[in-house]
């Protein structure tokens, strides 16, 4: 499937790539190559105190035309997330915002309640709100009501590379929520990205799995292929599963042993 024929939209913006790239934990020099190899049309950024003296700025390393997705990392409350979002918008890079509200310091699990509150405020202010959340159906429904543009459940604790720990609950969101489900956090390798796309996720966001890989651009390319493969498989419809029997893939000729079945 050519992804040009399979666009999706977020907040009225159309995308053909279903790979959202994180930019944390690797060198600015690698960002351009990672974006290109990923074929990514959206990249996340964080907002921090600026260092004096015009040091290297990440905006100079992001290829033109890539949508910037600032996050609210560091926020522990809805109010702090709202403050960061407004600051990010003032930088003049668009209306997209990924809400991240985290109070738990050990597992870094998102606080769904504060996330819903921030979503409501920012959606009203015209932001395209992309909330990172713990995969809970009730909270996801609240995010829809609050005006979210998508829902971004974690697969596993952020930065852990542990894979799809929350599989069953992500599947529930995919089935029940009528917004793009973007699996974010914990995806550790391309096969896992492929798997959530096969499940019907609209897109995948990856950072640490690429940042901690042996070769950042090569791993970005591997994820691109996996995400495209998973999407094509989903669109195709997976083959059926037989729980308690088998089915020969080769024709049963029966010429060797009259009356017996042949194998594969």
């Amino acid at each position: 499937m050519n992804n040009q024929q399979d666009p999706w939209t977020l907040g009225g913006h159309a995308f053909t790539s279903r790979f959202i790239l994180g930019s944390g934990k690797y060198s600015l020099d690698l960002i351009k190559a990672a974006v290109e190899q990923a074929g990514a049309q959206m990249i996340t950024l964080a907002l921090r105190r600026a260092s004096q003296g015009g040091k290297d700025n990440i905006l100079d390393y992001v290829p033109p035309g890539v949508t910037l997705l600032p996050n609210t990392s560091g926020a522990r409350t809805a109010a702090e997330a709202v403050r960061i979002a407004r600051l990010a918008r003032e930088l003049g890079c668009g209306d997209f915002i990924k809400i991240e509200v985290i109070r738990d310091a050990k597992y870094l699990l998102p606080d769904n309640y504060e996330t819903v509150k921030a979503t409501e405020i920012l959606a009203r202010e015209g932001f395209v709100v992309m909330p990172y959340m713990y995969p809970d159906l009730n909270a996801a429904r609240d995010l829809v009501s609050a005006g979210a543009a998508c829902v971004m459940p974690l697969a596993a604790p952020i930065g852990s590379n542990r894979g799809i720990c929350a599989r069953d609950f992500i599947e529930i969101l995919i089935r029940e929520i009528d917004l793009p489900i973007i699996v974010d956090a914990g995806i550790g390798k391309p096969s896992q990205a492929c798997e959530v796309m096969e499940m019907g996720a609209a897109a995948v966001m990856v950072n640490t799995a690429i940042a901690t890989a042996g070769d950042v651009p090569v791993m970005a390319a591997a994820f691109k292929l996996a995400i495209e493969a998973g999407r094509s498989a989903y669109l195709s419809g997976l083959g059926r599963v037989l729980a308690n029997s088998a089915s020969a893939s080769s024709p049963l000729t029966g010429f060797l042993r009259e009356g017996e079945e042949s194998g594969e």
């Binding site: 950024l45 004096q52 015009g54 910037l68 990392s73």
Partner: protein
């Protein structure tokens, strides 16, 4: 006294926000500024006269997931 990103600096009379940012080496089109917790639009940098005790936050984008 001024506080800029948590560091205390000497206060000088009649200094604009724009002058402070330039003296500190910040590139205006890459930053966003809060003055006493209120966002200051870029167009206001030259018109904003700093007062003794002001707290300035200067932020920019960095890598993040």
């Amino acid at each position: 006294m001024l506080t800029v990103n948590g560091t205390e600096l000497n206060f000088s009379e009649q200094q604009t926000l724009s002058q402070l940012l330039e003296a500190q080496g910040y590139e205006e089109n890459r930053i966003v500024v809060e003055l006493n917790a209120a966002i200051i639009p870029k167009a206001e940098y030259r018109r904003t006269i700093l007062q003794d005790g002001d707290a300035v936050e200067v932020l920019n984008f960095v890598g993040g997931g």
